[in-house]
């Protein structure tokens, strides 16, 4: 601003005119810069749309020029020399405005861009942290002492009378545990893979609970190649089995259904429960709330897991967006 005033003063304009011109020009520019910066907060063109910034700044520079001219010609309406100078310098002023606005725009765009990067980075870190925690939690859950010791007890029982079956169950338990240890929570796997892992778990539980536990898995042809986060389905089914088996007596049917629909993999898990005595009345239960959290961190959506209760059937529905 000061430089501009000196410059104009050296061009033989009075200090009054030089300073006023500089102050008004710069103030209007500052206003324009501020407007550009603020508008970026609400809408920021993507990296590919640099053209927008150029057009915006060209228009903004024009608008600012009109404002500057109007203000200056109001103040110095009697100074005809100055007014003609103002007209002659229009192109230069416009260029100057545009350069300044474009500069501010680029800086402010970069500023927001970096901020978003930082936020993304932080979200990613949070997701990784949680993944680590769930990894631990899921390890603890799958190495769930109840599951593990009861499975070992079943194997011990089989070893006496049906050694072949005992050997098979040792194999299944080992494969299941290995799958749990090997998999990374952040990894996306196909439904096909996840169902294989789930089958091992179901086979073990069926040996433990015998006829009481019935399962059915239904899936679309299109669904098997769709992707979902690793180790997501098994804890949900485990939850369903736990409620089903401990909330009722007699046979229970756990059904797992997978459908492909418009870029979404929909998983529907149902289990019977007792509406009167069920402790699952208490919200979604621990198992499911950690799943909900994981889905949020992966897809930034809170509406992907829903549960419904229909008489004596508890349904968990999970939607997995296909990225």
């Amino acid at each position: 601003m000061i430089e501009q005033a000196y410059l104009f003063n050296s061009l033989e304009w009075s200090w009054e005119i030089a300073v006023s011109d500089a102050v008004i020009t710069q103030l209007v520019l500052a206003l324009g810069g501020y407007v550009m910066h603020t508008s970026f907060r609400y809408y920021r063109p993507g990296q590919k749309n640099a053209l927008y910034i150029i057009i915006w700044s060209l228009m903004m520079a024009g608008a600012l020029l009109l404002l500057q001219r109007w203000a200056l010609s109001e103040i110095f309406s009697t100074q005809t020399d100055y007014l003609s100078f103002l007209s002659r310098s229009t192109m230069m002023r416009y260029l100057f405005n545009w350069l300044m606005i474009a500069f501010v725009s680029v800086i402010s765009w970069l500023w927001y861009f970096l901020q978003e990067q930082q936020e993304n980075e932080k979200r990613k870190q949070d997701a990784e942290q949680l993944a680590r925690n769930t990894e631990l939690a899921s390890l603890r859950q799958q190495l769930q002492p109840h599951f593990l010791f009861n499975s070992l007890n079943s194997i011990s029982a089989l070893a006496g009378s049906r050694p072949e079956e005992a050997r098979k169950m040792v194999q299944q338990l080992s494969d299941f545990l290995r799958g749990t240890l090997k998999k990374d929570d952040r990894q996306m796997v196909t439904l096909e893979e996840e169902l294989l892992h789930l089958q091992l778990y179901l086979d073990i539980e069926k040996v433990r609970f015998g006829y009481r536990l019935q399962t059915q898995i239904i899936h679309d042809e299109a669904a098997v190649k769709m992707k979902l986060p690793a180790l997501l389905l098994q804890p949900v089914v485990e939850n369903a089995i736990k409620f089903g088996l401990y909330d009722t007596t007699g046979e229970i049917m756990i059904s797992i259904e997978a459908q492909a629909e418009n870029e979404l993999l929909t998983l529907i898990i149902t289990n019977p429960f007792d509406a009167v005595t069920s402790s699952s009345q208490q919200g979604t239960g621990f198992g499911l709330s950690s799943i909900q959290r994981r889905l949020y961190l992966l897809f930034f959506r809170n509406d992907l897991l829903t549960t419904t209760k229909d008489e004596n059937l508890f349904t968990t529905t999970i939607k997995i967006p296909q990225l």
Partner: protein, 245 residues
């Protein structure tokens, strides 16, 4: 002949015990049960000398099943992993088997029971179930009404009243009797939900509508269903602190 019943929801776990018992000709298995309901029925019918009892079972757990029995038989607990239960066993010197257990360990437990047989086994069991606060008790109370077993969710309980050696559990459907103490429920239930407002009353605060002053410094609690429960002085203070008033 010693008569025994196996109660476990996992068939293979029962077959394991059965196999170990083959070497004990003096023991006869009179029944096998999948859950606590079947257990109560079979015990009433067969009056066994000894039962092998799992803890985590459908609908009602092993402890809840024992609570329903007039005079529980001697018990050898079999469990995979229930930390709270194991602590209780140890503090009452009651033997238990951790799954999977060896034949030697099984024989030892049986031997130990045989040597102290006819002693005060049943009394021990009662003391055990009185002292153990099961995590399930925060959710539900299992009671008997005639021949039926009723599972009462704790939020459906209005209040619990002392009644000689029993407690009366008051609900919308009337009251149920249970052979437990007030202090047991005071410990086992969520203290933010159930407040001991009087020596003889444990109140579900969600049922409270009003506290009214009585003569002298006494107060009475008015429940949503119109019932009135006296508050002792310390009970009144406790209630106020729980309600934050």
């Amino acid at each position: 002949m010693i008569r025994t019943i196996l109660i476990d929801d996992e068939p293979l776990a029962r077959s394991m015990v059965k196999e170990y018992l083959q070497h004990h000709a003096e023991i006869e298995i009179v029944a096998e049960c999948n859950d606590g309901f079947e257990g109560v029925k079979a015990i009433g019918q067969h009056k066994p000398d000894l039962i092998f009892l799992d803890i985590q079972m459908p609908k009602i757990n092993g402890f809840e099943m024992l609570e329903l029995l007039e005079s529980p038989p001697a018990v050898i607990f079999t469990t995979a992993f229930d930390e709270y239960a194991i602590k209780a066993f140890e503090s009452h010197a009651i033997d238990y088997l951790l799954k999977p257990f060896s034949k030697e360990r099984f024989d030892k437990a049986l031997q130990k029971w045989m040597s102290v047989r006819n002693a005060v086994e049943s009394k021990n069991t009662s003391a055990l179930i009185e002292s153990v606060a099961q995590p399930e008790e925060r959710q539900r109370i299992v009671v008997k009404k005639g021949a039926n077993i009723v599972i009462v969710p704790v939020h459906a309980v209005y209040y619990i009243e002392a009644y000689d050696d029993y407690v009366k559990i008051h609900t919308k459907e009337g009251f149920y009797l249970k052979k437990k103490t007030m202090s047991h429920y005071e410990q086992a239930l969520d203290p933010a939900l159930f407040v001991r407002v009087h020596r003889s009353y444990l109140l579900n605060v969600q049922e409270l509508t009003k506290i009214e002053p009585m003569e002298k410094d006494n107060h009475v609690a008015l429940l949503k269903n119109g019932m009135r429960i006296p508050l002792s002085q310390s009970g009144y203070t406790k209630l106020r602190s729980v309600l934050g008033i």
